[in-house]
Point group: C2
Chain length 365, copies 2
C-alpha cells in the first residue's frame, strides 16, 4: 500500500473527524475506494472506534432509481435509525465512472432526495467528513494520468492544516465583521447580505465546522442576493457538462438562468424545491496546494483564486442560533475564477483583487 | 450483464426473500459481488422496497481486527439500530481472497463475535438470505476455471425450487416423526436425539425457514449427541485447510477432537464458548444439481450424498417454542461423504443407504 494512503486515513480519522474510542462510525465506501477503506479500518481499530461500512455505488443507485416507480417511501426506518445512532460518517468516494447516473431523470432524483430529508439531516448531524480516494475515473475526469492524479490529490490532502487554518482565520474575521459582500468580475456583479452570519474557517476538520478533506476555503451563508453572476469554470453536474452558467437574482431568488452548455441540468436543480432557487453558501478558495481545475468540486472549490456559490441548503454553523437558514434537498456548488479583472468587497472595502487577499503580499487595493 | 445474474437476483428477491413494497432491505455487498448488487438493486427498485447497501470485505475486517486491542464494545448502537429496523438482510458474498483473514488470531475473532451477540440475533430475526456471486476467488477455491465455475454456480442456484421442495418434504416428514438419528460411516457412529424437533425443508426461501441460496438440504437441531464422527470432506475454515476432523461426543458435548490437518482451527472454534462444543445442526444434502465439492460450505453442504453437522448455534425454527436450543457465537458446518459404506437410521430404520433415500428408486434397505 502506498504510504500516502495510510497518511490520508490518519489525517481523516485524527485531524478531520477527531475520532475517539467508542465512536460509532459509518464508512461509506465507493467501489474503487477499497484501499483507503482498509487503511481507515486499521486506524479505527487502533482507536477502538466501532466500524460499519456501507457501500456507495452510483451504478447501484442508477439501477434502483431507474427501476423504481418514483413514489419513494419517506426516510426508510432502517437507514434513519442507523444514522441517528452514528457519531461519525466518513464518505470515502471513489467510483468507476463519474457519469454513472447520467441517464437518471432529474425528476426521479428530486423525488428520491426529497423523500430522504430526515436521513440527510441525521447524516449532517454527525461529525461527517467527505473525502475521495484518487481513482482512475477521477484522473480521467481531470484529464490526468493516474499516477499524476494521485500526486495531485495527495498534495491537496496531505497539507499542514494547522498553518492553513491560521491563514484562513484572517479572512473569516473580515467576513464575520462585515454586513454585505459584493463580487465583481466579468459577467458578474452580485451583492449578498452576511449580517449576523458566522463564516466557517474550513480547515478540513469538524473542530472547525469543516467537513471536506481536502478543504481550504472560508464560507458563509449569504442572504438577500441581488444581481447577476457568471460561473466560468466548467464542471460536470449529474453526469453532464455545464459551462458558463449565468444566474440572475432578485430578493435572494433566482429569477432567470442560462448556460452555454447544460442549462437543462441547472433547470432541474432549480426546480427541486423552493430553497434550490436561493443561495446556501458563498465560499472563497484558499488552498494554494490545488494548482488546477480537475472537474471535481471537492478540489475545485478549495482552489485559491476561486469563489463559489451554492444553490440550496445552508450549513447551520454559519447561522445565528435563532435562524434556520435556507433549506433544500440539494446543495449544488458553482464556481467562478477570480484570478483576473475581479474583486471581492466587504462593505465597500476591497478584500481580494485578482485573487490576492488584502492580508497577502502584493495586494493592490 | 450475463442474463443469469439478473435471474439470480430475481430468484433471490422473489422466491428466497419474498420482498414486497415497503420492505426495509439491507444488501451486504462483497467487493466482487458488485454486478449482482446492481441486479438486486434493480429488482428492489422495481418492487418499491427500500435499499441500504453495506460493504462486507474480509480485508477491512482483518485490518480492523488486527489493529484493535481486543476489548470490543458490546453491540455498537448504530449497527444494532440498523438491523432492528431491517426487514430483509441479503448477504451477497464475493471477495477477492478466501484466505483474507487467515492471520487473524482465533482469540481476536472470538472476542469480536462474542461482543456482537445482539447484532447477530437482530440479523437472524430478519428475513435473511445468504448467497454468493460467482467470483474468480471462489473459482480458485474450487480448483475451477472462472467460466466453468460460473456454470457450476448458476446450475446450483437457478433450479426448480418448488419441485425440489416437494421432494425434500418426504425427508422432513421422516425426521419430524423420529426420536433418534444414527449416522454410521467409516470412522463414524453417532447418535443424536431429535424428539420434538422440527426439521426445516430448506428450499432456499424464507417461506420454508430456509436462508441460503442455493439451498437444497433438510436440517434439524440435534441434542444429546453420543459417539464419534469423522468429517472426511476437506474444507477451508478461517483461511486454513482442515482435513479428516474427528469429534468425540459424550452427553451432547465434544470431549475429544483430532484432525489430520487444521486441528488448531477446530480447537479455536471449540473454545469460543460453551455452545461451540455442542451441535447446532444436523443437515442432509439433497441438491443433486451440485455435482462436486468446491470448498465452499454454501454449496458443499447442500450436495446430495453428504451429511453435515454444525458446531454452535441452533436455528430457532427447528425448536419447540418453549426451548431456546444450543446458543453460541459460532455456527461452523463440517461435512461427511455418505455415498459409500454409509447409512442413516431413524429409530432403527434405515432411511438412507450409500446416498440413496428410502423414497428414491434403487434404495436398498
Amino acid at each position: 500500500m502506498d504510504e500516502r494512503v495510510r497518511e490520508h486515513a490518519a489525517v481523516l480519522v485524527d485531524w478531520s473527524a477527531r475520532i475517539e474510542a467508542g465512536d460509532n462510525v459509518v464508512c461509506s465506501v465507493g467501489p474503487d475506494a477499497h484501499e483507503l477503506a482498509v487503511a481507515v479500518a486499521e486506524e479505527l481499530g487502533n482507536r477502538g472506534a466501532n466500524l460499519l461500512a456501507t457501500y456507495s455505488s452510483d451504478e447501484i443507485t442508477r439501477a434502483y432509481l431507474q427501476a423504481h416507480d418514483g413514489d419513494f417511501e419517506t426516510d426508510p426506518a432502517h437507514e434513519l435509525a442507523l444514522l441517528e445512532n452514528t457519531d461519525v460518517y466518513l464518505s470515502l468516494g471513489g467510483g468507476r465512472n463519474t457519469s454513472a447516473t447520467a441517464d437518471v431523470s432529474g425528476e426521479q432524483r428530486r423525488s428520491y432526495n426529497t423523500a430522504r430529508r430526515e436521513i440527510r439531516e441525521a447524516r449532517l448531524d454527525t461529525r461527517w467528513v467527505s473525502t475521495v480516494h484518487p481513482t482512475r475515473s477521477l484522473a480521467q475526469q481531470a484529464n490526468m494520468a493516474y499516477e499524476e492524479y494521485r500526486d495531485f490529490a495527495y498534495d491537496a490532502i496531505l497539507r499542514d492544516w494547522e498553518s492553513l487554518a491560521e491563514e484562513m482565520a484572517q479572512l473569516k474575521a473580515l467576513l464575520d465583521n462585515g454586513d454585505e459582500v459584493r463580487l465583481v468580475s466579468e459577467g458578474t456583479d452580485l451583492t449578498m447580505r452576511i449580517d449576523d452570519r458566522t463564516a466557517v474557517n474550513s480547515a478540513a476538520s469538524v473542530a472547525y465546522d469543516s467537513h471536506n478533506l481536502p478543504s481550504g476555503e472560508v464560507f458563509t451563508a449569504p442572504a438577500a442576493t441581488e444581481g447577476a453572476v457568471t460561473f466560468d469554470v466548467p464542471m460536470t453536474l449529474r453526469g453532464e457538462t455545464v459551462r458558463n452558467v449565468c444566474l440572475e437574482f432578485e430578493a435572494g431568488e433566482v429569477v432567470d438562468y442560462d448556460a452555454d452548455q447544460g442549462a437543462a441540468v441547472i433547470g432541474d436543480i432549480l426546480e427541486t424545491d423552493e430553497g434550490a432557487r436561493r443561495l446556501g453558501e458563498l465560499g472563497i478558495g484558499m488552498n494554494r496546494g490545488i494548482d488546477r481545475y480537475t472537474d471535481n468540486i471537492l478540489f475545485d472549490e478549495k482552489m485559491g483564486d476561486t469563489v463559489h456559490l451554492a444553490l440550496g441548503r445552508a450549513y447551520d454553523s454559519c447561522l445565528p442560533d435563532d435562524e434556520s437558514g435556507n433549506d433544500s434537498a440539494v446543495h449544488v456548488d458553482l464556481l467562478t475564477d477570480v484570478s483576473e479583472d475581479s474583486r471581492l468587497e466587504i462593505d465597500g472595502t476591497v478584500i481580494q483583487r485578482n485573487g490576492t487577499f488584502r492580508f497577502e503580499p502584493g495586494f493592490d487595493g
